[in-house]
């Protein structure tokens, strides 16, 4: 592994991308959403996990796009793919339990890893309607591990999300709505759940037993207290390991020269004024 870059050589998007890319293991089947998740996985593919198999929900299976797709429906997704088909295949593969890792984003998250991408405020009288779920709950429901990449603001790391779009470790059992552990609800379809949140402040993991989020590492330049203060819920910081490893120079090279030279998802670092 090449040497770590110094703080002035990378920006937060770089750090997120690299931290996220390290979550994937070689030979895994990975189901990715559009945007930063895509770049993170492709970075993993070009570094430590060359045999990962990439699935996009629009229907390309095990693709090797030579030029970064702007979304999962992009014509670029198909280049070098093992099979190109459609959504029924992609979601059936997921529900069949074949996916090791899902990469997703979100607007709000709670301490159980429940994620909201649907609306801000009361669903029946929303302050702001967002995009809606997309495949977020589906990929998350069936992956053995799920990684969320998020902007870290206190209004986003909340006690209760406005709407549970994507299931965390403790979820609501309908029709009653009582909170239960995900394992109880999913039965034999249970595969796992959110395993990491990579935010702009740190890397968070979950205790699979009680389903609570805890701080794993804080990003260079942040402190534990600062990260804690950026959460509305009481963040468990008892297991913190230290600083998030920064990007390596080689990772930065791959991101900016190979994967995203046109700064579609990851802006190049501008020297600070």
């Amino acid at each position: 592994m090449s040497e770590y870059a110094s703080p002035e050589e990378y920006n937060l998007a770089d750090l997120l991308c690299c931290a996220a890319s390290r979550e994937v293991r070689n030979n895994e089947i990975v189901f990715a959403g559009t945007g930063l998740p895509m770049v993170a996985i492709m970075l993993g593919q070009k570094t430590h996990a060359p045999n990962l198999k990439l699935i996009f929900e629009a229907g390309t299976l095990d693709g090797r796009p030579p030029e970064l797709p702007t979304s999962v429906g992009d014509a670029r997704c198909e280049t070098g793919a093992s099979r190109s088909s459609g959504l029924n295949d992609a979601f059936s593969i997921a529900q069949r339990g074949l996916v090791d890792l899902g990469y997703l984003g979100g607007a709000e998250i709670d301490k159980y890893g429940n994620v909201n991408t649907t609306c801000i405020g009361n669903y029946l009288e929303p302050d702001l309607r967002l995009t809606g779920s997309g495949g977020n709950p589906d990929i998350n429901s069936f992956s053995k591990r799920t990684v969320f990449i998020m902007v870290h603001e206190k209004r986003r790391f909340v006690e209760n999300v406005s709407y549970i779009t994507s299931p965390g470790w403790r979820v609501k059992k309908w029709p009653g709505g009582e909170w239960v552990h995900r394992r109880e609800l999913y039965g034999s379809a249970y595969q796992g759940g959110p395993s990491a949140v990579i935010s702009t402040a740190g890397v968070f993991r979950f205790d699979e037993h009680d389903g609570h989020m805890y701080l794993d590492t804080y990003h260079p330049g942040k402190t534990v207290e600062e990260v804690k203060s950026l959460c509305q819920f009481d963040l468990d910081v008892s297991r913190v390991k230290g600083e998030t490893a920064p990007p390596t120079r080689e990772e930065l090279r791959i991101i900016h020269e190979v994967l995203d030279p046109d700064e579609i998802f990851i802006p190049k670092n501008k020297p600070k004024a």
Binding site: R76, P126, G134, D138, W174
Partner: protein
């Protein structure tokens, strides 16, 4: 063999009646029948019940123009060219539109069930989310669940009786009056060959009672039938065909042209207000036919989007 199914874009749009349920081909910002959607807007359709596996610019055009009454889907936006559906978002706020949320896989499976003639599908996706919150059954709240075109219930919870797999959710098949597909090639008799990912097109087609295919080109059936295993949809599932090159612009078409990101960005920026949308529609939809639209876009712009034959997309460098 067979009579031609060719009709004009205008006649095709006239097949969609006020109050019809409607769905489209494509995925977010790819292979959307935008030229057809523009014609619907020109014809001032109202009360459309839009049922989409996922939404995109086509949704935002129809919603902005006031054509849509109900939107059943899971996502709307313009990918990286516009982060959410601003027309829809505004009209949800003002309650001018009913939104019924399912998950993406649920929408897909609802179409698969319909395409297979099954009344409902069984899945374990999205358990524990607010998608299943009984309070959030918006068509139910609106008294629209007649058990005919709209299912009596949004979903039903059950336990798997065969393998004790745990909770399952039953989701009703969609009932769609008209599907409009935008594809690369269709034969005179209706055989469709989609290039690249076929998304949810085959299911959308068969789920609908009537299917209209808008194609970049109408080709001889015999050409497509030389390689039946490369075709996507059989002749008899297609009722009408329309030839309309660049009919998906500003969305992209595998092997033909890329997404026009600048157009979508501009559109999205204008949808932040109703006045903005109206002005945009006045400029790009009303008073133009498809050829005039292409003239207005101009050759330089369209040639830049042109896909390279070897790559199936327009390379950035």
């Amino acid at each position: 063999m067979g009579n031609s199914k060719r009709i004009t874009m205008q006649a095709a749009a006239e097949l969609v009646k006020n109050g019809s349920s409607l769905t489209f081909s494509g995925f977010t910002i790819w292979r959307r029948p935008i030229a057809f959607v523009f014609e619907l807007i020109r014809q001032k359709k109202t009360g459309i019940h839009l049922i989409e596996v996922n939404g995109g610019p086509q949704t935002e055009f129809l919603v902005g123009a006031g054509c849509v009454d109900v939107w059943e889907s899971c996502w709307v936006g313009h990918e990286l060219y516009g982060k959410y559906g601003a027309n829809l978002s505004r009209k949800v706020g003002t309650k001018e539109i009913i939104v019924e949320d399912y998950s993406h896989a649920e929408m897909m499976f609802r179409f698969s069930a319909a395409a297979s003639g099954a009344p409902y599908a069984v899945t374990q996706t999205s358990l524990g989310t607010d998608i299943h919150n009984p309070e959030y059954d918006m068509l139910g709240r609106a008294g629209r669940r007649d058990g005919k075109r709209v299912a009596k219930k949004k979903y039903i919870f059950a336990e798997d009786p065969f393998f004790d797999a745990g909770q399952v959710v039953l989701i009703p098949a969609v009932k769609v009056d008209v599907a409009v597909l935008c594809v690369q090639q269709v034969g005179e008799e209706g055989t469709v060959r989609v290039g690249g990912q076929y998304y949810s097109d085959p299911e959308a087609c068969r789920a609908a009672d009537v299917t209209i295919v808008v194609a970049e080109e109408i080709v001889p059936e015999e050409y497509l039938r030389r390689n039946a295993d490369q075709n996507t949809i059989p002749s008899f599932e297609v009722d009408y065909i329309v030839e309309c090159p660049y009919g998906a612009h500003p969305t992209g078409m595998f092997g033909r042209y890329d997404v026009d990101g600048a157009f979508l960005k501009d559109f999205y920026a204008n949808t932040r207000t109703q006045e903005g949308f109206d002005a945009f529609a006045k400029e790009w939809v009303f008073g133009l036919d498809h050829i005039a639209y292409l003239e207005k876009l101009g050759w330089a712009r369209m040639l830049k989007l042109r896909a390279n034959t070897a790559l199936n997309y327009s390379p950035r460098r």
